[in-house]
């Protein structure tokens, strides 16, 4: 009994560290750094988004260049249901998940039959179609101006309105989803997906219903995206279609890849790195006193993307794994 508890602690030590860190962080950052906290709220939302895509892309190996669409569907569903139809935010939250999952089912069935480049392009097309429709269907979605005046979420009597409250709320959900992803990955479903990723035909020969598992994980990742979207809606209280563009889909894929595909911690790391990167670039370019700062930042962002893909495509956690295994090898041969 005692040993069992020891093993449990050892296995999940980093999880506990993470939870402790997340809990303490805002207390450490005080004073004029409240901008930091709001940045971390955004980072937390991205973490949820990236964890979902990581399961789909990193684990199951299905390329999706249109994931921002599910994020947007969740966000817009929450927004429209609460503003136009007067639903309570929590009801809208779960309704949004249901809507997004239904759409993911509908889209997933034909799309997941494709592989490689073709799958990438189909998801790309769907993602952009979604953005264009959101902009054009202005009677329903508010068009390019978006929707504003969205009510915030309430946890019982506590309204989740300040940065700090939003931070804890979002990260509570993020950690929950993190643990959920971790458990999925280490379960039979996770192993089945890994098999499908390595070689779909071989997996099917072994009796794994690849199409079914791919669809399940596709819908699950869409659900995560929808959760992230609804959280965004109720924290920002305003949404517009430009937010859910192709660029965001690219950003999310990049977060998955930079963090290290197929590694749940990688998803976390990737989201944090890429959310903070623009901030670093802003600080650097302010010091250099540049005029065209936004464009320069974007250019450097693109450059970083290209360089990381050329020199470290296995991502951050992949790199850490390599370093760890190198050290192990060194110790063996000494």
């Amino acid at each position: 009994m005692f040993i069992k508890r020891q093993n449990f602690l050892r296995k999940y030590i980093w999880h506990f560290v993470l939870i402790a860190f997340v809990a303490i962080l805002p207390i450490i950052i005080r004073g004029g750094y409240s901008y930091f906290v709001s940045l971390l709220v955004v980072a937390g939302i991205y973490v949820i988004l990236v964890l979902g895509l990581n399961l789909l892309l990193g684990y199951a190996g299905q390329i999706s260049l249109g994931h921002a669409a599910f994020y947007g569907i969740g966000a817009y569903s929450s927004a429209i249901l609460t503003t136009k139809y007067g639903l309570s935010p929590w009801l809208g939250f779960f309704a949004a998940i249901a809507i997004t999952c239904a759409l993911a089912l509908f889209i997933g069935i034909p799309t997941l039959r494709l592989r490689g480049n073709y799958l990438a392009m189909a998801t790309l097309g769907i993602g952009i179609i979604f953005t264009k429709v959101m902009i054009a269907w202005d009677t329903f979605t508010g068009g390019p101006d978006g929707i504003y005046g969205i009510p915030g979420l309430k946890l019982g009597a506590i309204a989740i309105d300040t940065d700090i409250k939003q931070y804890y709320f979002v990260w509570l959900i993020a950690i929950f989803i993190f643990i959920l992803s971790y458990n999925i990955v280490n379960s039979g479903v996770g192993r089945a997906l890994k098999a499908v990723n390595s070689n779909e035909t071989a997996a099917e020969v072994l009796g794994i219903d690849a199409a079914r598992y791919k669809l399940i994980i596709f819908i699950l990742s869409a659900a995560f995206a929808s959760i992230a979207g609804s959280l965004y809606t109720h924290c920002r209280l305003f949404i517009s279609p430009q937010i859910f563009s192709f660029m965001l889909s690219v950003k999310i894929v990049t977060m998955v890849v930079i963090g290290g595909m197929g590694n749940v911690w990688g998803g976390l790391i990737g989201a944090l790195i890429l959310t903070s990167l623009p901030e670093f670039l802003t600080i650097i370019s302010e010091h250099l006193g540049n005029i065209n700062t936004t464009e320069l930042e974007i250019a450097i962002y693109g450059l970083v993307l290209v360089l990381v893909m050329i020199f470290a495509p296995e991502g951050f956690s992949g790199g850490l794994t390599k370093i760890a295994s190198l050290r192990k090898r060194k110790r063996l041969f000494q």
Binding site: L57, I63, L65, P110, T111, R113, L114, G116, N117, Y118, A120, M121, A122, L124, G125, I126, I128, I129, K132, V133, A136, V250, V253, T254, V257, M261, N292, E295, L296, I298, A299, Y301, G302, L303, L305, V306, M309, I310, F311, P313, E314
Partner: protein
């Protein structure tokens, strides 16, 4: 009747541009298996470089055209050398992200160099529209269609009768076999980027008098050219061209139905093709 002819004419004009872009995609894909999502930026660069050269220098337009195309071809080669060739590991996702990253950089640098406003370019010949059987079209449209046909003829000749062209076809069929018989696949990759960039730039320069060059014009047009490629069949040169004209005409008639959803038509066609017949019309 002349209304329908008008739509067809506009469709063929725009379709020529899509056909050229599709050609660019196909050439790179055939030689390197890469889907170059930065192709649209080559188009944008061709237009914006020619427009800005025209603004500052006082040289005849045909000369500026050739200079712009050469500059962009050079940029294409640079991209191949510094961003594509060094890639040793990583799969499809890596390459896709790299080409997307490249297009991000090109767009941002263009915005820094030329600002965000559109730059005009005068028509290659007169500004007066041309009348054909009751429909009218800007005279630039004749240039677009004419140069497109010209490029098609040259490329066909190149592929069928020149050594390099045949070598590129060999690469498209089987890279390993091609290198076994002594074809330098790396050089073919280099050449294919140069040609694709040049063709893209030509398309951009041709369409700028009508649509004006701007740093963000490349993305959507490149994407639609890609839809044309998929429609015609990824890897098929005549397919890409056919796809371009079909999408051009479809979009033109689509405007008739609803102009708000204009951009959606090409994308919806692509998604449908991928669902129903991913090989496309003439695909292998």
């Amino acid at each position: 009747m002349s209304q329908i002819l008008q739509y067809i004419l506009t469709g063929v004009t725009v379709g020529s541009i899509y056909a050229l872009i599709a050609l660019g995609f196909t050439i790179i894909y055939n030689t390197t298996d890469i889907i170059n999502l930065a192709q649209g930026e080559f188009v944008m660069l061709g237009g914006i470089i020619m427009a800005s050269l025209n603004r500052s220098l006082n040289l005849p337009l045909p000369l500026l055209f050739i200079i712009s195309v050469l500059i962009v071809a050079f940029i294409g080669v640079g991209i191949e050398r510094f961003a594509i060739r060094p890639v040793k590991r990583g799969g499809i996702v890596t390459l896709i992200i790299i080409t997307i990253g490249i297009s991000i950089v090109i767009k941002a640098v263009s915005a820094m160099l030329w600002g965000k406003d559109a730059i005009p370019l005068p028509s290659f010949s007169s500004e007066k529209p041309v009348r054909i059987l009751g429909a009218s079209m800007p005279s630039q449209g004749l240039w677009i269609i004419g140069v497109t046909v010209f490029i098609m003829i040259i490329m066909t000749f190149f592929y069928r009768y020149t050594r390099t062209g045949k070598a590129m076809r060999a690469c498209a069929i089987n890279k390993m076999a091609a290198s076994v018989v002594g074809i330098d696949v790396k050089r073919m990759s280099f050449i294919s980027f140069a040609i694709s960039a040049a063709i893209g730039a030509a398309a951009g320069a041709l369409v700028t008098p009508i649509y004006h060059a701007g740093y963000d014009r490349g993305t959507m047009i490149g994407l639609k050219g890609f839809c044309a490629t998929i429609l015609g069949g990824l890897g098929s040169v005549p397919g890409g061209v056919l796809g371009g004209f079909i999408i051009g005409i479809l979009e033109s008639f689509g405007c008739w139905i609803s102009s708000a959803y204009k951009d959606v038509f090409a994308l919806a066609v692509m998604v449908l093709v991928l669902y129903i017949r991913p090989k496309g019309i003439l695909g292998k």
